[in-house]
Amino acid sequence: MRENLHRFFRAARGAGVHVSPAESIDAMRAVAQVGLTDRAILRDALLLTLAKSQDEKLALGDCFDLFFSQPEPRQDQPEADDSDEASQDPDQSPSSSSASEAGEGQPPEGLGPLAQMLMSQDRNSIAAAIASASGAASLSDIRYSTQRGIFSSRILDAMGLQRLRDDLDELTSTNPALAERLRAALDALREAVRDTVSQGLALYAREEAENLRNEILRNAPLARIERRQVAEMRALIRQIARRLRERYSKPRKRQRRGHLDVRRTLRRNAAWGGVPFLTAWKRKHRDRPKIVAICDVSGSVAQVSDFFLLLIHSLHEVVDDVRSFAFSSHLIEVSEILEKKSPEEAMAEIMSKVGFGSSDYGSSLVDFEKDFMSALTPQTTVIVLGDARSNNLDPRADILRRVSERSKRLVWLNPEGRLAWGFGDSEMPRYATFCSVVRQCATAQQLERAVSDIVATYQ
């Protein structure tokens, strides 16, 4: 039983639930209390002790169902368990497993144990044998879907496939009818093993595969992302937003530290004749970030702006106030659209209003100065996202200077690589003079770093 629970913990980790040793001990104690007879109670107990959030509960619930849906007979057959544990010996090799089983007594017809098992249609013992063989083949180490074949054959070997083949060869000559039945049974066995392996993959390898995919996605250039990956990228951006929120939204007590507030201390201790028993401290005022985001939504930059806006607008807890503006040839405010609609709809609406034009940074900045300059306060961080390619029109860098003067910081995020800045119609060097920071921002990872830095300056 303990072996099974340990395997379940490993599967839980595979499903992305963090199971620490202490938690597994708690789970063991809980299981010892409630026992194994009632599966619903067992499920509740494990969910209570292992999962620490609603998401984890869902993941773990699925994992539990998958894990225990596996070998139904194992539940009501304790001896199957024993054989399972026996096969966990470290020096377990395929040959020794089949040898030990073969040692249990040769059948009169001289068939191997696997062949006998298959012929007798004993489904319980077949399931148990598959389970023990997958233990011997350490199925829980499976990580990638490409390993399916190798694990299937390992399991079959561990079950004594070689012996079965010999039996088959022998039978084909002596008893063709029986051989035919055996062959059919073998096919069924192969299928069962394949299912077991797929399930093992789903159980143990989910997190690994996800990590790999996310890692690739994080470093993929946002602008050239494929359509089918957009949804995945959105999920990733949401993850990033959650991480940033967790890091920066904690109520911070640091503001309580400061100098002694003499006046308030004296007043508070008046009752004790001015002996300062209770101290009062001056509080440091700390403000939360106010962000004004100005995003280019023309052609190549649009996709990056999309993800950027999604990220900025999912940071409610961290950021006090976000106002977003989008432009290509002229500029409009899009905060409301982004607040009210789903990301997909919002982006479609923004694109229909200002998208698809050729970008004109000069006139867009004029628009901004005319209508929204009042949005800037000395606490505001202005983030401009764009490639600064103004199609050889007047860049109006003077407006950017005024924007920079009125705000706390001006950050420019450019999806293009540094090498391209200043070549062709790129006005980046002229704008860069007025920016506090200019950084490249082409992948999700760079996006996360950029936003994280911006928020961190307020900490």
Partner: protein
């Protein structure tokens, strides 16, 4: 054998809580049972009004224990949660004992001897006498055990969480001047959270994590039955069905169990025999607390009533 006992004990928890008017689902009963057996606090999460606080009250009433409640808020610190020195009393005593002090120290020949005597004396002022126990310390000092409810832990600061860790895992607190105070009987600890912020892993690790969501229809009917006994069965079914339909809407604040109970009371008070559009429209403000939500629900009322009535036929 032990396993047999477990499922019957869980049922015992369920019926025990039910006797106090708290209809618990299986998960809740399992959590309460386990927290007793392996002496771990329960961290209850879920939307507002699903009976998180009520659970602690029900456990206390069921086991006949005292309930000590600590309401968390931003800025809560150990002086308000754990213990505080009674400064005024200390000061008063030093004033009263001033003369006595002269007598005691008068006997001393040297400054060193006086200091020595003063040392023995100083400890008097930092003794249990002068400690004002706050909820957490009170909970540890209950001889018969108690139910300690730490309400809305997510509203407190991250530092306060760390303060709780010692209590949650070992049922003890350390007061620098006095040493470690261990619980006489480990209290049953319930923490509640509305998930306003994510709690630290260290805290979560020490607790059983219980999520109470909106109950299933059957369960909610039983809850209404136990809380508002004089409501007719048809009306109960209809109203619970209606609320379940409402919860499928995209609202700012979904009506939870406490709203269901309030609404049931209102309907009984208005002597409604069954749900109709008029009465729902008039009493919708009991269920929904935002004007925008009421507006969103308004056009659906008739459909929902019809649906709720239809599900009755099959349910």
């Amino acid at each position: 054998m032990a396993e047999q006992k477990a499922s019957t004990s869980i049922e015992a928890v369920e019926s025990g809580l039910a006797a106090q008017g708290y209809i618990a689902s299986r998960q809740i009963a399992t959590a309460v049972y386990l927290s007793q057996q392996i002496e771990k606090p329960i961290l209850v999460e879920g939307p507002a009004g699903v009976g998180k606080t009520e659970l602690a009250k029900a456990i206390a009433a069921w086991r006949g224990m005292k309930m000590i409640r600590l309401q968390c808020y931003e800025g809560l610190d150990e002086a308000k949660a754990l213990y505080e020195w009674k400064y005024a009393k200390q000061l008063l005593y030093t004033q009263i004992l001033k003369d006595k002090l002269g007598e005691v120290l008068g006997g001393a020949q040297t400054l060193h001897a006086a200091l020595e005597q003063l040392h023995d004396f100083g400890d008097v002022f930092f003794s249990k006498e002068f400690v004002e126990p706050r909820p957490l310390l009170q909970a540890l000092e209950q001889p018969g055990g108690c139910v300690l409810l730490i309400d809305e832990i997510d509203k407190s600061d991250a530092e306060f969480e760390s303060l709780l860790l010692e209590i949650l895992s070992d049922f003890q607190v350390t007061i620098p001047e006095l040493g470690t105070v261990s619980a006489i009987t480990p209290p049953t600890v319930i923490l509640t959270s509305n998930s306003e912020r994510d709690l630290g892993d260290a805290l979560k690790r020490r607790c059983l994590h219980l999520h109470i969501g909106f109950p299933e229809q059957r369960l909610e009917e039983r809850i209404v039955e136990s809380r508002v006994p004089n409501i007719s069965q048809t009306l109960r079914r209809q109203m619970v069905g209606f609320i379940h339909e409402i919860r499928s809407l995209d609202l700012k604040k979904l009506p939870s169990v406490s709203e269901t109970i309030d609404w049931a009371r209102v309907l009984v008070l208005l002597q409604a025999a069954e749900l109709d559009t008029e009465i729902v429209k008039d009493t919708l403000n009991v269920l929904l607390k935002y004007e925008a939500d009421i507006e969103a629900a308004h056009p659906q009322i008739t459909t929902f009533i019809a649906k709720a009535a239809r599900s009755n036929v099959f349910g």
